[in-house]
C-alpha cells in the first residue's frame, strides 16, 4: 500500500494518528507522515476523519458500494 499525505493540505490536527487502528501515521513537525504503510489494511477511516482531505491511498481495494442512492446520484450528475 502506498500512502501519500499532501503536506500542503495537512493541518497537523493528528486525527489520522489517533484514529488509525494500525498506528500507520506519526506527526512529524506538525505534518502527518505514514511511517508504517505496510500495516495499513485499507479501512479508509483516516479518509473519513481527515478534515483537510490530505490523504491518498494507492493500491487499496474499493469495497462494493450498494448503499448509493441511484436517484440522488442522477440528480447530482445534472448539477455537478
Amino acid at each position: 500500500m502506498e500512502i501519500h499525505v499532501d503536506k500542503d493540505a495537512c493541518v497537523g490536527c493528528g486525527l489520522c494518528v489517533k484514529d488509525c487502528p494500525m498506528h500507520v501515521y506519526e506527526l512529524q513537525n506538525n505534518v502527518s507522515v505514514a511511517v508504517r504503510p505496510n500495516n495499513c489494511m485499507g479501512c479508509l477511516s483516516c479518509h473519513e476523519i481527515c478534515p483537510a482531505q490530505a490523504l491518498e491511498h494507492r493500491g487499496v481495494y474499493p469495497a462494493r458500494r450498494h448503499y448509493i442512492d441511484i436517484k440522488v446520484c442522477e440528480m447530482l450528475r445534472k448539477v455537478i
Partner: protein
Amino acid sequence: MSAGYIDELHEAFHSDLAYRSEDIPLECSPKPKEMEQTLHGVMKLNGLIIRSLEEIAGRGANAVTYRAGKKFGHEVAKYFQKREDVEGALHELSDLLRGQYSFEVWKPEDKETFIIEENGETFIYLVFHDCIVRQTLRRNGLEQGGPLCQTLFGYVVGAIEEITGRKAKLEIVHTGPNACLKKLILK
C-alpha cells in the same frame, strides 16, 4: 497456511487505484442487476433474525442477531465439505460468503505468520472488504459494530464450526468505511 493461497487472496484485493478523500461515489458498484444474489442473502438473513427474535425475545439485540447469523452460517455450511485445516475452512468460507461478503487473511508487518499465538490465544486476522451489513448500516446512517454486525459474527462462527467441527469466536478490532478488521479466535 500455504503461500499460494495467501498470494492469490492478496492479488484479488490489490488494485492500482488511487483513492482520494474527495472522491464522491456517483453510482452503485457493481450495477444493481448484479446484486440479486446479495439481496437474496439479505432477505434470508432478515427472515432468520426475525425468527430468532421470536425464539429468544427479551435477551438483548446482540444475542438475537448473533444467534440468527450463527444459524445461517451452520445451515449454509452443512452442504460444504467438512475439513479440519483452517486454511481449507477459510477457502470454503469465502466460497460460502461470495456475493455478500469478501475477506482476506491479514497480518501486521511485525508478525511472521498468519496464524498468531498471543496471550494464550490462537487467532487469525481477517479483513472484511465487501460486506452487506456495512452497506446496510451506511445506507441507513447507522453506526458500525452494533447488533447487525453480530449477524456476520454469528455467520462466520457458525460456518467455521460446521466446516471444521472446532469452536470459534470472532471479535471486532476495527470498523471502517471501506474495510473492517476482525480477529478469528480458534479454540
